[in-house]
Amino acid sequence: MQLVVENLSVSYDKIRALHGISFSVEEGEIVTIIGANGAGKSTTLRAISRMVPADPGSKIEFMGQNVLKYNTDRVVSKFGISHVPEGRMIFGNLTVTENLTLAAFARKDSAAVAADMKWVFDLFTRLEERKNQLAGTLSGGEQQMLAVGRAYVSGRKIMILDEPSMGLAPLLMLDMFDALKEINRQGTTILLVEQNARLALKFAQRGYVLEHGKLILEGEADSLLDNPEVKKAYLGA
């Protein structure tokens, strides 16, 4: 297993958002965590990238190494865990190219970085057209592409994505998932959090269902797709 999460709990102030969840991701896999708003999906990803502290007793391991020992910047640069955060968090006052350059801050292999950047521009041709534009002037879809591109450049042994479909028009959304598939084909593991359950399950190989800070279901994506409980949770039918 590449990423192993065991008994992960996270509390904000005194309120517990995650109640000891455990899951794992195999190298090269696409795994999704689905669940309603406020179920704790974003918190899970933030705990992995160390943006929020995990409670004592939690365990997160990447390739057998303890992730919880490191700060966010080391998690990214040492392990290559790249996080595409909710709301994209691109740097609006930097150009597209600068955003990508910054993502490679800790990488020393400049030739490989250049190749990765070129790859990103090939994948998202719309970004290349706008590469000298300030990122703040991009449309929502383009910003999302940039966020994914940035994560690709920053190390990407595993890419964890927080609702990449949010606010995207349906057509753009499908393009985005195609791009992610392509990235996965390059050997990047993908852990995806989504509200759009059907889309996510069609895309992923395996899935987990998170409810109120607990994992209530897990399994092959196809079987989850047909699961009556999942259906019920998403349309109340």
Partner: protein, 304 residues
């Protein structure tokens, strides 16, 4: 007309100090969202370091090397030493307060400033030092306008520094990280960038710039005083925020503006009206442009 040009040169010189110091302030303010009320005193400390280095180098190299070489050496060594002071202030004073309300950090800065002033008095006593002239002053008269090579040097060095900083901020990845941090500091670590490197670096640059401003100041007004930084610091604070958060150019411009207002007010009115009119103008500017000149549309609320 000559009178006007004469004052223009004075204003450029005066504005250069403000600009260089404000940029340092603006760096810290823009990148870390901190009121670094210690900045004026970092300027003071930098000036004293410059004074020490200048005296030392003059004694060592005076007859051997030409004045301008010593001048450059003094600037480089002083910048280096002063940046350590900046890093120290960050690590000891501000880092423990990173999650704390910004007002608390502001108070800490104020206190660090007082410690610097008092520490200086304790170490060096009440004796007033005078900054040695590194460049021999030569006066020129062009069409009735008098100026000295020192004045020109001050203006040129300031402009060169600003250009260098601008390049650093725009072209290097460190500069990118700083700009990114001023936009959204939470996302910066996700790029593999450590805040614990960028923050001290920012302070180091701010302190280095302040020390150069101090050396230049020492060439124009040689008397040193432990409290010389207070008023300058608050004015830099004004200029930095007037320029707009995260805008180096804005801070420089606001610094020059402040210098120009002060000199030209003194040209028309009695000099005691300087502060009154200068700050009235600032008040009016901020009342009608509540985000400064180049400020980003960002919430700048002081969270409790």
């Amino acid at each position: 007309m000559e009178y006007f040009l004469q004052n223009l040169i004075n204003a450029l010189q005066w504005g250069s100090f403000y600009a260089v110091i404000s940029i340092g302030y603006s760096m810290v303010y823009g990148v870390l969202m901190l009121f670094n009320f210690a900045h004026g005193d970092i300027f003071m400390v930098g000036t004293y370091i410059g004074f020490g280095i200048a005296t030392l180098f003059l004694a060592l190299f005076m007859p051997i090397l030409p004045g301008w070489v010593i001048f450059i050496m003094v600037i480089i060594v002083t910048m280096f030493l002063a940046s350590f002071v900046g890093v120290m202030v960050e690590v000891i004073g501000y880092r423990p307060l990173r999650g704390a309300p910004r007002a608390s950090a502001a108070i800490t800065g104020l206190m660090i400033g007082i410690i610097f002033e008092t520490g200086n008095l304790i170490l060096l006593g009440a004796q007033r030092f005078s900054f040695p002239a590194l460049i021999e002053s030569v006066s020129y008269n062009v069409g009735g306008v008098y100026f000295t090579n020192v004045k020109v040097l001050i203006i040129v060095v300031s402009l060169v520094l600003m250009a260098a900083l601008h390049t650093f901020i725009q072209k290097t990845k460190w500069g990118m990280a700083m700009r990114a941090m001023s936009y959204d500091f939470k996302a910066v670590p996700l790029m593999g960038v450590s805040i614990n490197i960028i923050a001290p670096l920012t302070f180091a640059i701010g302190a280095g710039l302040a020390s150069v401003a101090g050396i230049l100041y020492g060439q124009a007004y040689p008397v040193l005083d432990p409290y010389m930084g207070i008023l300058v610091g608050w004015k830099a604070f004004v200029a930095a925020i007037l320029g707009g958060r995260g805008s180096i150019m804005g801070a420089a411009l606001a610094g020059y503006l402040l210098g120009f207002i002060e000199i030209f007010v003194a040209m028309v009115f009695p000099s005691t009206f300087r502060d009154l009119i200068a700050y009235s103008i600032i008040l009016i500017i901020l009342t009608f442009r509540p985000r400064g000149f180049f400020g980003m549309a960002h919430s700048t609320q002081l969270r409790l």
